[in-house]
Subunit: 202 residues, 2 copies
Amino acid sequence: MTTKENAKSAPRPRGRPRAFDMETALDTGQRLFHASSYEAVGLAALTDALGVKPPSFYKAFGSKSEFFEQVIERYAQAALALDEILLPGRAPVDALAELLESAARTYARDPQRRGCLVLEAARGPDGDDSATHARRVANQRRDRIREFVARTHPERASAVTDFMASTMSGLSASAREGMDESRLLDVARTAVAGLKAQLGMD
Amino acid sequence: MTTKENAKSAPRPRGRPRAFDMETALDTGQRLFHASSYEAVGLAALTDALGVKPPSFYKAFGSKSEFFEQVIERYAQAALALDEILLPGRAPVDALAELLESAARTYARDPQRRGCLVLEAARGPDGDDSATHARRVANQRRDRIREFVARTHPERASAVTDFMASTMSGLSASAREGMDESRLLDVARTAVAGLKAQLGMD
DNA sequence: CATTTTCTTTAGTGGTCACTACAAAATCCT
DNA sequence: AGGATTTTGTAGTGACCACTAAAGAAAATG
């Protein structure tokens, strides 16, 4: 309480102020990576798009893969919010059906950024940092599905989660290859029919 | 009939004979690409594994992407032969169930070469030659599935084929992320339950 | 034998990759 | 004003990428 301090504004740091907004940069990076892929977006293209020279980028984010880590964490938080779909008490079949259909719609929505940024990045080279981060984020979301299903169907939770994970990967891949929204929705609905066989028809 | 000619052996060509076997090279290349990916196997690693220097490789195959084109054509011919599964007269649900379960087994069989070489390559950069070739080969196989289904269910053929394509991509992706054979088989069987809803229970 | 043809070898090519050493510029603190 | 601190722009780094020019070596042909 010695000097003025507001809840929001951080006290101005000491040295030269950063000349660009990191959130905007993450957003631009997300668009770039989603449009093609982590590997396909070189540092030159990235820094050009951000309007930032490489040394500034590295001061701010550490490395390309650390930048990407922040990007996918942001993306996973924003896209397909599980909280709004996996509501406690809701019938799993209904919730998972909505999740698959939402995925179908989301993956085809923007023709320039098809599929799921996380799931596509998870297919990168096995030892790569970007793929490792993406798989970690994907697995966190799968854990939430498993926990949700386990509340009502503890015995089927793992099998159902595997099926959801595989189906979402398939939807993302198909979206990337150009399958449009209505076809993806048909795929999702056929998958839901499979889910009903696992979880009961309700 | 002027000189000796056998049905099998081509008459020795004129210049210095090739010092390696192209079929063996394609086979080795297939293993390498399948173990990691087209992009991850550099020309140096490739030619080292083949025991062949770059200029010989280029004389024989033209380019890395042309070599890969031959590799995936070979692979598509050998793995998961559709002729043996999509038998005319067979109930589509049965045939497609066998196809999905065979895929699950095949994709997990060799822990060092998980998933489908073609489907994984089909996810490469959009403009890339390797991805273009892989998608062409994948679509040829999807056409055969569509034709097979259309014989008995012409109205559902496209939707069923989309679901098969998406599910196979999902199985391949899951295999790549480490899902073992029994889990992949469970996923395949759940997908078959979805197929039955589309094609009738039989 | 010499010539022609084809492949193999040696030794590179330019291009792109992620990343950085260094010094100038912009801010805060005393 | 005079440091102290942090970010900036300039200008590169070495490593790897797919690929190749040039010359030597191995075969068939004449």
